[in-house]
């Protein structure tokens, strides 16, 4: 089990770093898509198949394709990098803080709960169903806004 986790962990870290550090956008996208798939594997392993399926469908499917189209529109290469020691320091501090916090929180672990799909649906209907309504309005607004920006802005430039 530890071996399986270690492999997953290393792949996740490696693809994440690759997604940040590579300069060719195509390879960035490849690394990013791999990362998203590996995270879906985490979800499956933790016992949330639906969440994993969502992850694959929306992220590894939709988002990756969107990014691909964006790359095709704007060109493949990044021009230059920004040298930032401050950013590295902040990221390192975040990581150290995260390690401390995860030791603090994660030192005690109970046996995992068996959370069935039915139970998730139950909790969703009980607590979060109404949240879908504003969320859907927001989604409509965002999508329309994106569409509007693209069409009008592009028309104006022409």
């Amino acid at each position: 089990m530890l071996l399986y986790f270690t492999i997953l962990f290393l792949v996740v870290i490696a693809t994440a770093i690759a997604a940040i550090e590579l300069t060719n956008f195509i390879w960035v996208l490849v690394a990013f898509a791999t990362l998203l798939t590996e995270i879906a594997l985490f979800y499956f392993s933790l016992g949330f198949p639906l969440l994993g399926a969502f992850q694959l469908a929306i992220y590894a499917g939709g988002v990756a394709i969107l990014v691909l189209f964006a790359i095709l529109t704007i060109g493949e290469r990044e021009e230059e990098q920004r040298e930032s020691k401050l950013a590295a320091g902040v990221a390192l501090a975040t990581f150290v803080t995260g390690v401390i916090a995860s030791i603090w929180i994660g030192i005690q672990t109970k046996p995992y709960l068996e959370i069935s799909l039915k139970e998730i649906a139950q909790v969703f209907m009980d607590k979060y169903a109404l949240l879908v309504i504003p969320l859907s309005f927001t989604a409509v607004g965002i999508i329309y806004g994106a569409y509007y920006l693209l069409t009008k802005k592009l028309q104006k430039e022409e």
């Binding site: 990044e78 990221a91 995260g98 672990t109 046996p111």
Partner: protein, 103 residues
């Protein structure tokens, strides 16, 4: 394969590693595309953490992760739209040029 009783520490470590890498990317890259990807890495890290907590505390974490995924997808849609518009106007590494709010 399925985890059943592995320590939480592992998954939280994954989550925080992703957050830290995403933050580094967000702060140190110049192109908006990399920044959007970094943001997505951060959100994914948070989602891993939520899923890990859901194994300990009940189904709420998973549901919130669902919502987070949905919202993040929308966010990417808008972000890429803006990316395309801004790149046409300023070129690929434009966040540095967007500084007319300075003194």
């Amino acid at each position: 394969m399925k985890f059943t009783h592995e320590p939480m520490l592992w998954f939280l470590l994954v989550a925080f590693s992703l957050v830290a890498i995403g933050l580094y990317g967000l702060l140190s890259r110049k192109s908006l595309l990399k920044m959007i990807i970094s943001t997505e890495i951060i959100v994914n890290g948070a989602n891993v953490g939520l899923a890990a907590f859901a194994t300990q505390h009940g189904a709420d974490g998973v549901i919130i992760a669902f919502f987070a995924i949905a919202i993040a997808a929308l966010e990417v849609a808008v972000g890429l739209t803006l990316l395309i518009i801004l790149v046409r106007k300023y070129g690929i590494s434009f966040p540095e040029k967007l500084n007319n709010l300075r003194w």
